[in-house]
Amino acid sequence: MSNAAEGEIVQFDNVGLRYGTDREVLSNVSFTLFPGGFYFLTGASGAGKTSLLKLLYLAQRPSRGAIRMFGSDAITLPRERLPGLRRRIGVVFQEFRLVQHMSAFDNIALPLRVAGVAEREITKPVTDMLEWVGLADRMHALPAQLSGGEQQRVAIARAVIHRPEMLVADEPTGNVDPDMAVKLLRLFEALNRLGTTVVVATHDVHLLKRVPDSLIMRLDKGRLSDPTGALRYPPRVPRPRGDAA
């Protein structure tokens, strides 16, 4: 693996992914993500966006290729060290994946509890987050009692509550009204300005225009195209985005 990529948060080198004996859903995917970058991942349905995100949030190992995350080789990393990497990533799942028997408050508090944060230090940030996503009055509601949009906001709040170094969001605005979509995007941008690398998978082209300094990765039948060339791996010029905000 090249050492030229110092400072990169994620490096994919010739990554392929297949499920079972089917054809590859991702083929020869290579790219780099820099700390503080804001990236959109686009592509038609079935293009492999969710599969690529699964590799990013360490829910899946690739069939081939090399992946480095936060300076560690994610392929050969012992299983016991994966939780440490995962705690540095916030994930908004496409289908939300809220814990159904937990209230909105407890779902949002879950990453903090997993990380061992004391209960007395959990209440305020979770309450603030609930207020921010407009669900302060629904904090005791179970996911089944929330609308799709409300569940999505809880999922987003859970993903960002622990200030992850990288946020991975799969269609995060798919179930919310346009106003809330813009609001959530502003939240992602605010996190991004604080140094969080943001990766948003979406097929909403209007969303792409709302973050002018973002970089776009386009997936087509499992192959990644990089319109600007800024994502190529190995990178020609490291491009931290912090100064572009």
Binding site: L58, R79, P83, V99, M102, L110, R113, V114, A115
Partner: protein, 302 residues
Amino acid sequence: MALKLPSLFTRNAEAELIPQGRLSGPMPWVIAIMVALTVIAAAAGLAFSNTARNASDALTGGITVQIVNAEPAERERQAQAVLQALRRTPGVVEASQVSQAEIDRLIEPWLGAPLDGNTAIPVPALIDARLRDPVDGEMLGALRRTLRQVAPSARVDAQSTWLKPVFSAIGTMRWLALALVGVLAFALAAAVLLAVRSALGTNRETIEIVHLLGGTDRQIARVFQRAIGFDAAGGGAIGLALGLLVVLLLGKQLGGLGAGLVSSGALGLIDWILLALIPLGGVGLAMFTARQTVIRALKKML
């Protein structure tokens, strides 16, 4: 970068990870039954041990001399001569003749009560003696030679020889009880394993989410371990109460038989303490099984 993984959920948060009552179901009752049966089996094993030990202590130095002579006067003469000889023999700490009344009582179930104090069938005179050391073959041979000189009709036997088959049976029963305790422990572990596997399947989605949020195998295992621990503690307490009740009732009934061998198996304080510790062992075994089951299952996940 060195990753420091906080290893603990807080107590409340752990409890919330799996819905309360999800693991329970019939589990506490299964554990209660297992513990009750284990208590009964263990009590039986301890009682058999006590019986064997007490009987062995009582019999290892004991010998019985029979004077087999049809002539009552000669029989009594030889009996007295044996008593004198035994009392002079070094190593014999006690020797006494079994009274005629006691002999009559012993043979009454087979021969009926003697008429006017006389039995129609001549019964040997019995002399019970206790040696300082356990009786071995050499000592028994020497005693036989000594006693034959003063009482030609004397037959000398070690008491432990008579009860050897009984000791053997008691030993077998003791091992059987121990094996039963082992089988019950295995059954308990198997029941916990099945319950945990079922709970893992039911809560798979939650577990995956916690994993993806950075939860460790140990954190998740601890949740199951604790839930099973509570079930086992509740079930164990009920099982102990049931088991002790049965043991006490059985003890009372057996005690009523008044047989020396049975009453010598009475449980002592240490035995009762051991029985009381069985639920703790059950809780430990259940928690260990739950932990190992969860850890093994989670290792199959990324």
